[in-house]
């Protein structure tokens, strides 16, 4: 993939932060509003892919290697399964939502509040392990999807592929 015109590059520069912020919002509010790790991760990854398309694969490949991305992906996966294992060690069962109602110190809860039953306003400090898992999945999806597209773009721009 080669570089696109200056107009495209400028506009993608301007839009990229907005896309990223929106994607991170979708990830962070996954337990309150429609959305979650996968959806938000896909939004952020598509923002990254937009930059890749605008600047060309060689530019992107100089700045980030797919090895680093796969390491991030592994990290996300380990984080996810790690939370599940924490459920086993702390909550006594695999995948237990052990943070709900758990008071860590005096009154501090980490995502541990229980919402009032019925229609409520959004309280971000709820959900137990759900936000943690959302973050893990978000990291995974961002790194994974971007790595796939990056590798494909780079491989198709190599000379040996063009006959």
């Amino acid at each position: 993939m080669s570089e696109m015109s200056k107009i495209v590059r400028t506009i993608s520069n301007v839009i990229f932060p907005l896309i990223t912020i929106f994607g991170l919002y979708v990830i962070a509010h996954g337990h309150l509003t429609p959305g979650g790790g996968f959806q938000g991760g896909a939004v952020v990854a598509s923002g990254c892919i937009m930059l890749l398309a605008a600047y060309g694969s060689a530019w992107a490949f100089e700045r980030i290697k797919e090895k680093r991305l796969t390491a991030f992906e592994s990290l996300g996966a380990v984080w996810f399964i790690g939370v599940a294992f924490l459920g086993l060690f702390v909550g006594g069962i695999f995948f237990a939502n052990f943070l709900v109602g758990l008071k860590l110190f005096d009154n501090f809860t980490l995502f541990g509040n229980i919402p009032v039953v019925g229609s409520t306003l959004a309280d971000i400090n709820t959900g137990g392990v759900l936000p943690l898992m959302n973050f893990a999945v978000g990291l995974k999806v961002i790194a994974g999807l971007f790595a796939v597209v990056l590798v494909m773009a780079y491989a198709s721009s190599l000379k040996e592929w063009k006959k």
Partner: protein
């Protein structure tokens, strides 16, 4: 509650989670050192084996065990994913563990010269984890998820030698067929969900009514899982992918294929057991259709194997024929088990079928390992080019002889024990079926004698002057499988009594499977 009880209680999720964790960590561990990574993968598989052994000791004595994810107690209606481990599940898990362990030991030196081994070990661990997940799960959507993992990771492994066009082609064929198949499984899951608002196998088995929609779902499930196992007429992917994948991987993929077979057993005899209860022998159309297809599978597998010139494709077609024997027992079981006069026949057939699962894995797996060893030593897969290999590769020749005798069902080997049970039961149903089965077995022997004569005996060729015996880890891998084959062949009664019979009883005791979850509701 002592530590052992706690470990046993938590072993169902750990059996799947440990290889998964290993797969996630392998890319990170692989950055340290190649040797550390290989040892790490082996250790992860061994830990899994430890948990499988613990759970097996419990399940074979105390009956099925349920593990609910995310909650201490089971609440009704069943909303959570749960694992339900009965003797059949744990039997399949043992099979998978043996194959995975052998594959990892064998890979140590077989794959040494390749690059991209981090990903290789990751994917092998993923296939193992997904196969175990398919075997232990008690939730039908979870089964679909693990089916997808196994098909994606097997496909990537089949394409491991990317510089070969044939392996890419085989991988593409495999993923097209298995992803469409998996989507139809999802469609069947949707049908169940629409009718009964449940995804749990025990709950579904309790309420299933055999409406038109259920029949459609049953046909979809049997067709798709049969396709994944290699039932004719959807068998064409199997020899391709078995023949083109690296042989160390083929043995793991055999395990994944057998998990699909396990799925057929589970769907036919647990999920639909209540629905089949009132069907007499003349009405059990699906059983008769499966018997027909199974006979076709055996015949086509054997006949196609006759004309092959590529060693590994030949074994692939033999694997198709062996799958046919297991499907034969499924068909016989479906026809006979609900008829009070014939129930003993059905039980014998099921014993033969389930015993044949492990024998098939070991025999065909051993043959693939031998083919891999020959490829490693000579870089040759065509049978027309091989000759006189017995002089330089004595151990491999012995292993090949063991595999040959086992796969064609000759008395001192394990293949004989299970095939005898199959012949017995089918003879009581209809003598023609058993005659066809025996004839096919004899033809298998003929095929392999021909291969043995042309590849291992025969005149010396100058090209193979400097061929050496393969290295130790490969010999250990083949040796382990051969030992198990011989032990199973010498003491089939013990194996049947302690492993196979509990599995068959668990499979046929549908009420227990349901009541463990629903608690007599």
């Amino acid at each position: 509650m002592n530590l052992l009880d706690v470990l046993i209680q938590h072993s169902p999720p750990l059996i799947v989670a440990v290889p998964l964790l290993g797969a996630f960590l392998t890319p990170l561990v692989g950055r340290i050192n190649e040797k550390v990574r290989n040892i790490f993968a082996l250790v992860m598989i061994s830990i899994t084996g430890f948990f499988i052994a613990l759970l097996a000791s419990d399940v074979f004595t105390n009956g099925p065990r349920v593990y609910v994810f995310g909650a201490q107690n089971l609440t009704l209606p069943v909303v959570r994913v749960l694992f339900e481990v009965d003797s059949l599940s744990i039997f399949m898990a043992i099979v998978t563990f043996i194959l995975a362990f052998v594959a990892l030991v064998y890979s140590w030196s077989f794959m040494k010269e390749n690059d991209g081994l981090d990903k290789y070990y990751t994917l092998v661990l993923l296939v193992v984890a997904s196969t175990l997940g398919m075997e232990l799960t008690g939730d039908i959507f979870n089964f679909f998820v693990f089916l997808e993992i196994s098909c994606i990771s097997s496909c990537a492994l089949i394409a491991f030698w990317v510089h070969k066009g044939e392996s890419l082609e085989a991988a593409f064929k495999y993923i097209v067929i298995s992803s469409i198949g998996a989507l139809f499984v999802l469609f069947a899951v949707g049908i169940f969900y629409a009718q009964y608002n449940a995804l749990n196998i025990a709950t579904l088995a309790n309420v299933i009514q055999f409406t038109f929609l259920d029949k459609v779902a049953l046909v979809l499930l049997v067709v798709v899982l049969g396709m994944k196992a290699g039932l004719v007429p959807m068998h064409m992917w199997l020899p391709d992918s078995y023949g083109e994948a690296p042989p160390s991987v083929t043995i793991v993929i055999i395990g994944a294929t057998q998990a699909s077979l396990y799925g057929v057993f589970r769907m036919c005899f647990t999920l639909y057991s209540g629905a089949f209860q009132n069907i007499t022998i003349s009405e059990s159309t699906i059983g008769l259709i499966i018997i027909m297809l199974a006979l076709l599978t055996i015949l086509i597998g054997v006949l196609m194997a006759l004309i092959q010139t590529d060693f590994r494709r030949l074994i692939g077609f033999v694997a198709v024929a062996e799958i046919g024997y297991i499907f034969l027992t499924i068909g016989v079981g479906l026809v006979t088990l609900h008829d009070p006069d014939m129930i003993e026949v059905g039980k014998t057939a099921m014993q033969g079928g389930i015993f044949h699962i492990i024998n098939d894995c070991l025999d065909v797996g051993l043959l693939f390992l031998v083919a891999g060893a020959i490829y490693y030593a000579t870089r040759e897969t065509s049978l027309n080019e091989m000759s006189g290999l017995a002089r330089n590769m004595r151990c491999t020749t012995i292993f090949f002889l063991i595999g040959l005798l086992a796969v064609s069902g000759i008395p001192p080997m394990n293949g004989f024990a299970s095939k005898l049970l199959i012949y017995q039961s089918t003879y009581q149903l209809n003598p023609i079926i058993s005659i066809i089965a025996i004839l096919a077995s004899i033809m298998l022997l003929a095929i392999f004698v021909k291969v043995f004569y042309s590849a291992f005996l025969g005149p010396k060729i100058s090209k193979f002057e400097n061929v050496k015996e393969v290295s130790k880890s490969m010999l250990i891998g083949m040796g382990v499988v051969s030992c198990i084959i011989i032990i199973f062949g010498l003491f089939p009664n013990i194996v049947i009594h302690y492993l196979v019979e509990p599995a068959v009883n668990a499979l046929l005791n549908n009420a227990q499977y349901i009541s463990v979850v629903l608690g007599g509701v």
